[in-house]
Amino acid sequence: MPRSRLTLGAVIVGVPLVLALLGPLFVGEPGPRAASFTLGGGGHWLGTDFIGRDVWRQVLLGGRSVVLVALAATALAYVVALPLGLIAALTHRTWLEELLMRPLDVLLAVPSLLMILLVASVFSPGAAGLALLVALVNIPDAARIVRAAAAEAASRPAVEALRMQGESWWRMAVGYVGRSVGRTLAADAGVRLTGVLYLVSTAAFLGVGVAPDAADWAVMVDRNRTGLFVQPWAVVVPALLIVALTMGGNLLFDAVLEKRNRT
């Protein structure tokens, strides 16, 4: 069962991933610009986008940044949130827990879009900065979920036994507690990745990170939406690719997790 799921996930995630990573190698020179939002014809088999560029070409070009920025941001968010949440769950010092978690609540209290809007217009970061920023708004959220999921596991006798053995924090936190809450975190990471994708695109629309006319699937979805009824492909194709990317990724994740748990 997990095997078939594994292949299914791999296929679903493979299409957008291959397009994203190899696509840029196969695009030719940009052709002449056509009118915006035309449906097919004139060599544009997926039509043209909001400024008359070939949609297919944009699709080929637009995956890399999405995949990289979103993956980087999600990974980054977890790189920070995991230790934070785990430390908070494993410590017995209330002050340390409060010190770690309460400042995050401050970040949480600022709506993420506002946060991005504000920070972005003040510091005008590039793509790397954007990944950082998107990660930043995701950290508090992720950290809380990590902590909540880990708190129970952290109080089990098994952890006490590990402490008794003088086990390193790392082994306790990641090796045991992290593993015990793996499924929950995987579920969260899956949806977070999707959330991050669209936050990146929204940020692009607000003029942060990726240029607002960049070849970027998420940006394409956002910018071409005005023409949804004239030229659906410009929205539907990148959106489907993103759906496939996140869905396939999660399927893959689930399957791997299941397989590991079975053994």
Binding site: H92, E152, R156, P157, A158, E160, A161, L162, R163, M164, Q165, G166, E167, S168, R171, G175, Y176, R179
Partner: protein, 513 residues
């Protein structure tokens, strides 16, 4: 032939995992009002057989033979009661769920009252003191023995036609054990068939009508209890029965007065606001074995956990070689950690369910003694073998070991630290007499060989306690008596100790109620 039909029956059961039979050719009949007992060494397949009566088998098992499970519900008191108590629900809710279906027939208005009444009755039948107060507690707020009795209360409340009780008395002191035995006998009198899986021969002898002796997954001998005791046929049965000891020995008093290793001063321990332990003065000397006895819930585990640095919420001082130990084990150095080791009462919960036991055991040496991975593994394997766990068993993950096997693995894990003070919390409670003797021998051997090792043996079992040089007696959180083992056992001073010793003697005499 009598008219009674059996409640359940197993014929020629064979359970095979990875083409290794863990139960082979077992047949068994559960009769109403009768107690059928399975005895046998640890790992002999008792739990597996018991679970088969519930229609449950280990994952990936190949099963053959006939199992006719009882119709209707079956009460089940598992070997590790903590695991079947939902951590997020109060005791009241856990019992309430069962009671609610019992009172369905009543008019709506009276249901609540009736349910509560039944719950309280079940709790007191299961020998839990102050049942009303228990209702509001979460499982983790109970002592090991209390948890076990709550699970028993569930089974009693259920009103099933059959009950499978897997080591229902392991965690109980003699007084409680005696009442539980009475209770189970009363249950049987109501016509309920009981399957008792136990290594505790006193209990088996008191209760059982029919006894099956198991070894390596096979039934080596079976028959009515009396016959078995009087004329055991199989050598193994004989060996098993011979394992019974009366707290005869009581090691000779140590020569001279060795220096104290561990010294406790003015200890009071709390759970939230209630004080559960008061120990004004307690000393453990080098090479000594101190037995801590007391009824279930008297604070034995709490004492052990305080010493081990697992229970931070206490006042007073704990000195190791005259230097105070940090209250939390987080603040203890590696050497301090290695010096004081604790073996958990609930062995199952204390293992990481995902990693092989061997690896987990070996980590102690790597972390606390800085040995290499290879050395640690070798040492772990040899220690486990001494304790009777084969290499094959050691490479499995914890949930594929039997209760007794896990308990021994836990002991091995602590031993690998080469501790100076080893605190064993009911480590022999899950073991049959033969294995128990083996373990206790190993421990005394260690004491003999390694002069710097001292033992704190937490137990409810006076037989085991008799092994100690000295005995400390806890009652309701108070340290009521301590002294040389022989003295305490032969001429107890405190009334509580007196009753403890008396009951113990009586139970061992095997007077059937």
């Amino acid at each position: 032939m009598t008219a009674v039909t059996e409640v359940a029956e197993i014929k020629d059961l064979r359970v095979e995992i990875e083409s290794r039979a863990i139960v082979d050719g077992v047949s068994l009949r559960v009769l109403p009002g009768k107690v059928t007992a399975l005895v046998g060494a640890s790992g002999s397949g008792k739990t597996t057989t018991g679970l088969a009566l519930l229609g449950e088998y280990p994952a990936g098992a190949r099963v053959s033979g006939d199992v006719r499970a009882p119709d209707g519900l079956v009460g089940y008191v598992p070997q590790h009661p903590a695991s079947v108590l939902n951590p997020a629900r109060r005791i009241g809710a856990l019992l309430g769920d069962i009671a609610r279906y019992q009172v369905r027939g009543l008019p709506r208005a009276r249901r609540r009252e009736a349910a509560r009444e039944r719950i309280l009755r079940a709790l007191s039948l299961a020998q839990l003191p102050d049942p009303a107060a228990m209702l509001r507690r979460y499982p983790h707020q109970l002592s090991g023995g209390q948890q076990q009795r709550v699970v028993l209360a569930q089974a009693l409340l259920l009103g099933a036609r059959a009950v499978v009780a897997d080591e229902p008395t392991t965690g109980q002191d003699v007084l409680t054990k005696r009442r539980i035995v009475d209770q189970l006998a009363a249950v049987a009198r109501q016509g309920i068939g009981i399957v008792l899986l136990s290594h505790d021969l006193e209990v088996v002898r008191t209760l059982a009508d029919e006894v099956l002796v198991m070894r390596g997954g096979r039934v080596v001998e079976s028959g009515p209890a009396e016959r078995l005791w009087l004329a055991p046929r199989h050598p193994w049965t004989r060996e098993l029965l011979a394992g019974q000891t009366q707290f005869s020995a009581g090691a000779p008093a140590l020569q001279g007065r060795p220096r104290p290793v561990l010294h406790v001063r003015g200890l009071t321990a709390r759970h939230s606001r209630t004080t559960v332990l008061r120990a004004p003065e307690l000393t453990l000397r080098a090479g000594e074995c101190l037995a801590v006895v007391g009824r279930s819930g008297s604070g034995k585990t709490t004492l052990g956990r305080c010493l081990a640095g697992l229970h931070r919420d206490h006042d007073g001082e704990i000195l190791l070689d005259g230097a105070p130990l940090p209250r939390s084990l987080r603040d203890r150095t590696r050497d301090q950690l290695a010096a004081v080791q604790y073996v958990f009462q609930d062995a199952k919960a204390a293992f990481d369910e995902h990693r092989p036991v061997l690896d987990q055991v070996a980590r102690t040496a790597i972390r606390l003694r800085r040995t290499t991975q290879g050395e640690a593994m070798a040492e772990a394997a040899s220690t486990l073998t001494t304790l009777g766990l084969t290499d094959d068993l050691a490479r499995r993950s914890p949930h594929r070991l039997s209760g007794g096997e896990l308990q021994r693995a836990a002991l091995a894990r602590a031993l690998l630290a080469r501790p100076r003070v080893l605190i064993c919390d009911e480590i022999t409670s899950g073991l049959d007499s033969v294995t128990r003797r083996g373990i206790l021998d190993t421990l005394t051997g260690l004491l003999r060989d390694r002069h710097d090792l001292s033992l704190v043996l937490i137990t409810h079992d006076l037989d085991t306690a008799a092994l100690g040089d000295r005995i400390a007696v806890l009652d309701a959180g108070e340290l009521v008596e301590q002294g040389q083992a022989r003295e305490v056992l032969t001429s107890p001073r405190h009334p509580f100790t007196v009753s403890l010793v008396e009951t113990s003697v009586r139970l061992a005499a095997g007077t059937r109620p």
